[in-house]
Amino acid sequence: MRTRDLAYVAVFAAIMVVLGLFPPIAVGPIPITAQSMGVMLAGSIIGARRGALAMLVVALMAAIGLPVLSGGRGGIGVVLGPTGGYIAGWIVGAFVVGLITERVWTRYNIGWAILANVVGGILVVYAFGIAWYAILSGQSVVLAAAQNAVFLPGDAIKVLIASAVAVAVRRAYPVIEAAPQRA
């Protein structure tokens, strides 16, 4: 990784922090936040490795107690707590979004963007979130998944916004193409 790659990582980690400043809407035990959009943007704009690293940085900052999660939350308690699976899901989710995006980069358009963001930003993140929530609360996966359903409308909107932005940014300032594959 070059210095520039590290700077990009910091930018998207900072975007996650800023998105966390929007007050979360508490529906049930897991807050609806703007931060899942940051996962999609990171994967779509800076790719798999850097995107995942940005999420890792946010997770680390949360774990050491900095208030980087929505609603000014932070601390190991939140990272390991009931919603901690979503935070692990951000890392893998951003990686998957980036992986798909990199594969289709030369013919990237709004359709591919939506596909990448739905798979990585919704399916992967939900899978981790639901699994951890089910383990920690002892509830069945089905029950945990049912509580998760309230996020779908909000996340669908976030996918559309993130995809449109990703396509526009690719046209104006393509990062993935310009970056070396390995540093």
Binding site: M1, R2, T3, R4, L6, A7, Y8, V9, A10, V11, A13, A14, I15, V17, V18, A26, G28, P29, I30, L41, I45, L53, L56, V57, V58, L60, M61, A63, I64, G65, L66, R73, G74, G75, I76, G77, V78, V79, L80, G81, P82, T83, L136, S137, G138, Q139, L143, I161, A164, V165, A168, V169, A172, Y173, V175
Partner: protein, 172 residues
Amino acid sequence: MIGDAGVLAALLGVVVLGFAAARVPWRLAVRQVGIALPFLLLIVLVQGLVEGWGSALVVGLRILTLLALAGLVTLTTRAEALIDVVERALTPLKPLGVRPERIGMVVLMTIRFVPVLREHADAVRDAQRARGVERSFVFLTPLLVKTLRTADGLAQALDARGVDPGRAARQR
């Protein structure tokens, strides 16, 4: 995972003693757990209705202990010390290409970029307002492009000065 309510209660007692030993003001101590209390209550409620109240007690105690312990560590340890721990904990991953000291540097850059994003957001909004555009989702695109450019500039400046992010972080 511990499934015995008695053992969990004892563990929670130890953590509470830890708070006392660290002389954490009780108001602050309660707040550590208080933020998560609505979640905790809901989990216990659902658990109790679905699986029975005995299991709800165990789950509730387990999460409460976890939250209290995490709160205690966070309260009694400075962020820098925690960054050091994180760097040391990541050291075994070095063969995989992880550079722990660089991650510390990225954390510092992230903290710096938060106010930068705010400034850029204001600038983009002003520019759009000057052209008669109020509130638009198009807002995000110029904000990101502008910030990516700033990141490029920052990286070039660091490189030009021969600053290796890893080494700089270690010299603190």
